[in-house]
């Protein structure tokens, strides 16, 4: 069952795999925080190469057991919920980067209430979503 949920904020938190918070990996602590705060979901990606504020290149090595690769934690939520979580994240992140983007969201959930369902497939919901084509 699908529903158009309108505009949401896509938050992406960039950190390092070896960053820790309260004795466990920071990315795990962030996922648990987002879950406790009632966020709809979160996804953690591990990069295969990258560098950050310290300009140290992080790369995976086949024969090393532990690694310090770039991690991105993503979460799509309402602006209000993201705004409430940002101060908490601020206290957890030692270094890193948070980006916020606008995203339109279509949600699939078997138990979606009837008033949140939609049959409209147009991406042009607000009128300004689709910018004029430059090749038109």
């Amino acid at each position: 069952m699908r529903g158009f949920k309108g505009e949401r904020v896509l938050m992406r938190i960039h950190l390092g795999e070896s960053d820790r918070h309260d004795g466990r990996p920071l990315y795990q602590a962030i996922v648990e925080l987002l879950r406790e705060r009632g966020c709809a979901g979160a996804t953690v990606f591990r990069g295969i190469l990258g560098f950050g504020a310290h300009a140290t290149v992080h790369e995976s090595h086949l024969f090393r057991l532990s690694s310090d690769l770039p991690i991105v934690v993503e979460c799509v939520e309402t602006e209000e919920r993201i705004a409430a979580i940002l101060p908490v994240l601020d206290g957890m992140l030692g270094g890193g980067l948070i980006t916020l983007e606008r995203a339109r969201v279509i949600l699939y959930r078997p138990d979606l209430p009837a008033d949140e369902r939609t049959d409209d497939w147009s991406l042009d919901v607000t009128g300004d979503w689709r910018a004029p084509r430059s090749d038109a």
Binding site: R8, G41, I106
Partner: protein, 115 residues
């Protein structure tokens, strides 16, 4: 901008599914990539996450052997709004639970074969 290069407004579509989701006897993410290819999309990328949770609140993690085979996946595709509008109803029939996000993307690229 050099000849042959172009900058255009496109939509970045990201489909969030699980690795264990199936459609028509094969992995759902594979079926989605094949659909995008069949509809003439310029490209698609599947990324596997190492951890995540969704509407069922269960945390799937690479470090947990019970969930390591059902990790979150994101299928990304950048294309013209009209093409993605055509693909969305078909995706709707394939996805039972998940999330699709659509973002504006400005594409800078170079058409193959143009000097």
């Amino acid at each position: 901008m050099a000849a042959g290069a172009w900058v255009e407004e496109r939509v970045l579509m990201r489909v969030h599914v699980n690795e264990g989701d199936r459609y028509d006897g094969r992995p759902l993410y594979r079926a989605i990539v094949e659909l995008l290819r069949a509809r003439g999309c310029a490209g698609a990328t599947v990324q596997r996450a190492i951890m995540g949770f969704g509407s069922r609140r269960r945390i799937h993690s690479l470090l947990n052997e019970l969930t390591a085979a059902d990790l979150p996946l994101v299928v990304e595709c950048v294309d013209a709004p009209a093409r993605l509008e055509g693909v969305l109803p078909e995706l709707d029939r394939m996805i039972a639970g998940g999330l699709v996000t659509l973002e504006r993307a400005r594409v800078v690229g170079r058409r193959p074969g143009v000097a």
